[in-house]
Amino acid sequence: MEKERSRKYWNPYFGGVMLGLVLLAANFIAGRGLGASGAIKSAVVAGVQTVAPAHTEKAAAYAEYAKGHGSSPLKSWLVFELLGVLVGAFISGAWAGRLKFKVEHSPKITGKRRLIFALLGGIFFGLGSQLGRGCTSGAALSGMAVLSLGGFITMIAIFGTAFALAYFFRKLWI
């Protein structure tokens, strides 16, 4: 039903070429790839600095972060990029008629169950992205584009694990 109202998605191969060109542009302009989790880290560091400044001076992780970054954690390339992502996705959704508040879930599960697993999934992904020094965008996709060994390892670990666990979580999706 929804498909009749909203425009169709791009052909995936065309979308892939476009995504590749965006990634190429990022490397050409800024000498780095795309990312998402890095911006979240900036926001978390900035938030904790504001709420508990004394704590961030003592705790090792914040001190190390401050050493590697400039004055304000929010004034970073990835933060501006991720703000752009929100705008770009909104434009695309508005253009295609897909703007709508809803909880998307399989008809076989409740919305509440979907939200619980969305939260859990987010927590796992957030934690994993820090261990892996980047997420699907920053470590896997951008890493593969520059032929980094780590990028390929992380990509295989992410998708391999998701495939391996798919059976156990099948009731959420099919």
Binding site: L19, K100, R114, G126, L141
Partner: protein, 196 residues
């Protein structure tokens, strides 16, 4: 000659503006490829919708070939482009934890922001989870520190590690991608697809 920011062809502030514009392109492409839908993303792991594989793999080889060509033409100095460092164990462990998050939550960080931007409440909750997950890492850092910094291999290239030339690896990767696309088309025909 690129990278433009490194050779100071553009200023730092212009670079931030470009980050915003590149982000708009990134978000637009992800959303318009269907990545704002968790059911479409999760379909990858059940074979009923392999959009993720097609978009992701096509993007990776497009960017990779573009980088190689830009390097050969002298348009982009590849020696100063950021190459992700490889810490073997944390790359694997982080990937495993992320994979578990992917199959539970149906999003990855970038796509969850796209979903949130068009009003998906499950995506907003996933984003909330991301902040909690990052905070857990920052606060629990002493627990993760050893694993996080173990087996620092520097920033090796995958083709060096496999003992082949860059060109041969790139060629093989394109062949693997093409084979994966054939497999993906087959899987989509074989597994039933929900209309949603």
């Amino acid at each position: 000659m690129g990278p433009l920011s490194f050779y100071e062809i553009i200023s730092e502030n212009t670079n931030f503006l470009m980050a915003f514009i590149i982000g708009i392109g990134f978000g637009f492409v992800l959303e318009n490829s269907g990545f704002s839908s968790s059911r479409k993303l999760a379909g990858m792991f059940y074979g009923y919708d392999t959009t993720v594989l097609k978009v992701f793999f096509t993007a990776a080889i497009t960017a990779m070939l573009g980088m190689i060509l830009f390097g050969l033409f002298g348009w982009l100095d590849l020696s100063v482009v950021f190459v992700n460092p490889t810490y073997l164990w944390s790359a694997i462990a982080g990937g495993i934890v992320m994979g578990a998050g992917f199959i539970m939550g149906g999003f990855c960080p970038g796509t969850s922001f796209c979903g949130a931007a068009i009003g998906k409440i499950d995506a907003m909750v996933f984003v909330g989870g991301l902040f909690i997950g990052v905070l857990i890492f920052m606060e629990g850092y002493p627990l993760f520190e050893k694993l996080y910094n173990a087996a620092d291999l520097g920033a090796p290239f995958v083709y060096d590690s496999l003992g082949m030339s860059r060109g041969l690896f790139a060629f093989l990767l394109v062949v693997v991608a093409l084979a994966a696309f054939v497999g993906a088309e087959w899987a989509e025909k074989k597994f039933p697809r929900d209309e949603y």
